[in-house]
């Protein structure tokens, strides 16, 4: 009896915590499609707020996709070969390099943004373009790509694969393209999903790096929270959720993949 009570209390506690996290998100989604949040759902459902968000902020949404897509391309081009090189080389130097590129995750985004402003703020063309935001996002997302690819490569015998292909006469570039990259695919996919998800939601760096002409979605969100009526802010947040949820689901699916494959094999 006492044990049952304890289990029931634990269940209740877990439900309360989950509600604390999810109820505001549901409230926000509802508020975004309700005629009047003050009068509640009885006032009727509408898409007028979503349309208003589209009119006001479509540009920020497009820019966020541009930045996230570009960050993905850069982290792929820079990160995947680097992950391979770090695994092949190994040793103290590789560990030191991994350490350094992971530092941006330990340092608050605000500090990194301030550092970028201090050194490049004077180059006004760069400062004013969306590429400035991209630079910050690349620094911050690169470690996710490198580490995801390294994690997958570390589980297999890269050196034997590489030497096997070399003994068959493949040059380094072909070995990388035809042997390493296909084998690293689950890591590349996991890294890519992380990079896009993080970039789409990045605020701490972006708020410092943006200009009135280079606002991204999270920057626009902060604007709307400060200056728009609750329904519009909620509709804007709803748009963000709709963008981010498929990515989160995909991440979960990818995370489950290797386990399933192993179980089958």
């Amino acid at each position: 009896m006492r044990d049952r009570l304890i289990v029931a209390a634990q269940f209740l506690f877990t439900v309360v915590v989950a509600s604390f996290l999810i109820v505001p998100a549901i409230l926000s989604m509802l508020a975004g499609i309700t005629v009047s949040y003050f009068r509640g759902i009885a006032s009727g459902l509408t898409l007028q707020w979503v349309i208003q968000v589209w009119d006001l902020y479509a540009e920020t949404i497009a820019r966020s996709f541009l930045v996230a897509g570009s960050a993905l391309v850069v982290t792929l081009v820079v990160g995947v070969p680097a992950a391979y090189a770090l695994i092949v080389r190994g040793g103290r130097l590789a560990r030191a390099i991994e350490e350094i590129i992971t530092l941006p995750l330990a340092i608050p985004g605000l500090a990194i943004a301030l550092a970028l402003l201090l050194i490049y703020g004077g180059f006004s063309d760069f400062r004013r373009s969306w590429l400035f935001i991209l630079a910050g996002h690349v620094v911050f997302t690169l470690p996710f790509m490198v580490r995801a690819v390294m994690a997958v490569l570390a589980t297999m015998d890269v050196k034997t694969l590489d030497e096997g292909a070399a003994s068959l006469g493949a040059g380094p570039w072909r070995r990388f393209r035809d042997v390493i990259v296909p084998n690293a695919r689950p890591g590349i996919l996991a890294g890519a999903l992380s990079v896009v998800t993080i970039s789409l939601g990045e605020f701490n760096l972006t708020w410092m790096l943006h200009t009135p002409l280079t606002k991204t979605l999270p920057v626009g969100l902060a604007d709307s929270y400060a200056s728009m009526r609750l329904e519009v802010a909620s509709a804007y947040t709803l748009v963000f959720f709709v963008m981010i949820i498929p990515l989160l689901v995909a991440m979960q699916v990818v995370a489950d993949l290797p386990g399933r494959q192993r179980a089958r094999g």
Partner: protein, 271 residues
């Protein structure tokens, strides 16, 4: 081209990007912090100037309280979810980890909807007690916001650690006559120690650097990131903002490095 030659070539873009957009800017940040009107005094001012010291202490206390609360909540929920199979379990886990991808600003907005002027808590309390409770814009609201983004970060690590616990140890303890509390105190919690250290460090470092949540709630509580922001934008006290950023970065980095030296695994904060 030899394999080593190719490996070096493959590392070149990484080296250039890291140097141009991280290493050099951070070096500049450290130098700017030391070369303002106060010189090196700007770094000393973090501890000596009452306003900055108060902000540093408030931020550390808030981050520490958040970490302890998140660990406690995540341990109770994580143990329960990992030990029982029931319909809806997967949904509960999804609900607990979903906010992982929310930016700080969105978390702030969630707290406004929960406990702001038009919030749920105010609505319920005004009906039940006849008095509207509004927490969002106070230190309680900030704490709720920090807890909101810390729970998902901590709970996944705790659940993974619970899964790896050896049930034989608990059974042995029980056979030897240990009650449920003694089993938890002497067997389960010590075994979860490394997970507490690793996820606690991430929660602490993330809370120290959190900017978006405090920004949205717009409280007049001066957490360090908000002080840095106002020094930079409103006071144009760039050297002080740089020095405070370096201080904040050092605290966050040192926490993670310390945790890693204890637990031996890689930990990193994000968001």
């Amino acid at each position: 081209m030899s394999r080593n030659g190719f490996a070096q070539l493959a590392l070149l873009p990484l080296a250039l990007v890291t140097l141009a957009f991280f290493a050099l800017p951070m070096a500049k940040l450290v130098i700017v912090g030391a070369t303002g009107e106060m010189g090196l005094g700007a770094y000393a001012a973090i501890l000596l100037e009452p306003r900055y010291r108060a902000s540093l202490i408030a931020t550390v206390v808030l981050a520490a309280l958040t970490t302890v609360a998140a660990l406690a909540v995540a341990t109770i929920a994580g143990l329960f979810l990992q030990r029982h199979r029931f319909p809806g379990r997967a949904v509960l886990i999804a609900m607990l980890t979903f906010p992982l991808a929310f930016p700080g600003v969105v978390v702030g907005f969630m707290i406004i909807l929960l406990a702001g002027r038009q919030g749920l808590v105010g609505d319920v309390t005004s009906r039940l007690l006849g008095e509207k409770v509004v927490l969002a814009y106070s230190i309680q609201g900030l704490f709720l916001g920090y807890l909101y983004f810390s729970i998902p970060r901590v709970i996944l690590t705790i659940m993974a650690a619970v899964e790896k616990l050896d049930p034989a140890l608990e059974e042995a303890a029980r056979t030897l006559g240990a009650g449920p509390w003694a089993v938890h105190r002497d067997v389960i919690f010590p075994a979860l120690g490394p997970a507490f250290v690793a996820s606690g460090a991430i929660a602490f470092a993330t809370a120290m650097g959190a900017f978006g949540t405090a920004f949205t709630l717009a409280t007049n509580i001066d957490v360090l990131p908000m002080v840095i922001y106002t020094e930079f934008t409103l006071s144009a006290n760039i050297a002080m903002a740089a020095a405070l950023s370096v201080g904040l970065g050092l605290v966050a980095w040192a926490t993670l490095a310390f945790a890693r030296s204890l637990s031996g695994s890689t930990v990193a904060a994000a968001g």
